[in-house]
């Protein structure tokens, strides 16, 4: 009975939590149970959800566990939502992809890669908490560098950043000619080819 009870407790906790719960967090909330027992309970709960045609699934995201509705029910669930469903613009996705794969990355680097001004997009992504300010880069001008957040992992249903397919894998899918590994971007005006200079002049002075 004890393991059944543990499973019920874990389900209740995941139900109440307002975000993914990490294993450490579960262990600290349930000091009477050991880690092994909790892990088993999570596994049992996951199987329960799959086998018994439940309306929820147990997802492993953002370094924790969370209950979520089934993807095949998305359309019905959306009817319940008051707010409009989440939608990403192409520019938001491209900027997010660059930040996710190249973090820590500066705004100038994102703009160099995309070839367009990205200030507005970066601001929106910051406001939506999908990216965050990581600090400043140790180069002249000390530009701000950005990276992705826990909310990014939660939103994109990722266990951690390593769960993102590598750029190489994506490229193989698209069957593009393989291009060399990620290197420094030639953003230093003195090093770069002449034509990107005009873009850099619009950069904020800091």
């Amino acid at each position: 009975m004890s393991s059944l009870e543990c499973k019920a407790l874990v389900e209740g906790l995941l139900f109440v939590a307002d975000g993914p719960l990490s294993m450490d967090r579960l262990v600290s909330i349930l000091p009477e149970r050991d880690r092994q027992e909790i892990l088993a309970a999570i596994e049992a709960l996951r199987l329960d959800c799959e086998r018994n045609a439940r309306g929820i699934t147990l997802a492993e995201v953002a370094g924790g566990y969370q209950l979520r509705t089934r993807p095949e029910h998305a359309e019905v669930m959306r009817r319940l939502q008051k707010s409009r469903p989440l939608k990403f613009s192409q520019s938001a996705l491209e900027s997010l992809a660059i930040i996710a794969y190249r973090q820590p990355v500066t705004r100038a680097e994102i703009e160099y890669l995309r070839g367009v001004d990205c200030g507005g997009v970066v601001k929106t992504l910051l406001e939506k908490k999908l990216i965050r300010i990581l600090g400043k880069k140790d180069v002249p001008g000390r530009p701000i560098v950005y990276g992705t957040t826990r909310e990014f992992l939660e939103t994109f249903n990722l266990k951690n950043l390593n769960a993102l397919p590598t750029l190489k894998e994506i490229q193989d899918l698209a069957e593009l000619p393989v291009y060399e590994e990620q290197g420094e971007l030639p953003l230093d005006p003195s090093l770069s080819v002449p034509f990107i200079q005009p873009l850099l002049q619009g950069e904020p002075e800091s």
């Binding site: 469903p85 989440l86 491209e94 992809a97 406001e127 939103t155 397919p165 593009l176 002449p194």
Partner: protein, 267 residues
């Protein structure tokens, strides 16, 4: 290959309302990729004259339609023209023949196109995932947030962006003329104040010289440190002592008692 830009870029069978379609390129790189794909060209060996002509025709079309052409598109236009003209130059017969490969004027553009293509694909992969709030839903009942309900020593959740935004909001409500300058200047003095207090608090006292024994000692750092020192003296936060003339200058905490000050805050 020639034709009016409209026919060239927008197959009417594919796009009924091309004016809407015009706006959907993310930028010059996106437009170039579109042209390359449409013409079934190789990114690694772009026929630069042809692509340049089509690119310029597209910009001309945008202009005819009275659409705004962002600066980036124009920058790329002159880049293309520049590459095209460089392709026409007889290749310089330098003795460093090994670098001839690098001299392809298109190299940088090709590199950027390939790189952009990678992130465009990555964006598509991201967008195709099952998204929380679109395909999956979790419970949305946050606990009420209150910092005031303290007690336990819980970790803090704070984002730098929130801090800056909060400051921006405060300032937006305040008459501006009083608070425009200083910030970056103040900060380095403030930072020195923090450093000096940290040093004193660590060992009870610190030698004047020790304030200047760190990092690459720049002129700005010395000035900021000295201003910080003056500020701390003015605030009676530290005392400057010397056992005899020309002896080492010692800095110690002022005689303010902290506990009484916290009570003062409460009142």
């Amino acid at each position: 290959m020639t034709g009016s830009p409209t026919q060239l870029l927008f197959d009417p069978l594919q796009y009924s309302g091309y004016t809407v379609r015009v706006d959907t390129f993310e930028g010059p790189l996106d437009l170039l990729l579109h042209l390359i794909r449409k013409n079934e060209m190789e990114i690694c060996d772009i026929p630069i004259a042809s692509i340049t002509r089509q690119y310029l025709e597209y910009l001309e079309l945008m202009k005819e339609l009275n659409l705004e052409v962002a600066g980036e598109f124009l920058v790329m236009a002159s880049t293309l023209l520049q590459i095209k003209s460089r392709m026409l130059l007889p290749s310089p017969e330098e003795d460093e023949a090994g670098e001839a490969e690098e001299q392809d004027p298109r190299a940088e553009l090709i590199r950027r196109l390939l790189e952009y293509q990678r992130y465009k694909d990555a964006a598509a992969v991201l967008g195709a995932r099952e998204l929380l709030g679109r395909d999956l839903f979790s419970r949305s009942l946050p606990f009420p947030d209150e910092l005031e309900e303290k007690g336990e020593d819980q970790p803090l959740v704070l984002e730098l962006f929130d801090l800056v935004e909060a400051f921006r909001q405060v300032l937006s409500k305040v008459p501006f003329e009083r608070f425009h300058d200083v910030i970056s200047e103040t900060i380095s003095v403030a930072e020195r104040i923090g450093r000096i207090l940290d040093k004193i608090d660590q060992s009870g006292s610190v030698l004047f010289e020790e304030l200047f024994d760190e990092e690459p000692l720049t002129r700005e750092l010395v000035i900021a440190t000295f201003l910080a020192l003056l500020e701390l003296c003015r605030l009676n936060s530290i005392k400057v002592a010397q056992s005899e003339p020309f002896a080492a200058i010692l800095l110690i905490r002022g005689n303010e008692s902290l506990s009484s000050e916290i009570e003062y805050v409460e009142s």
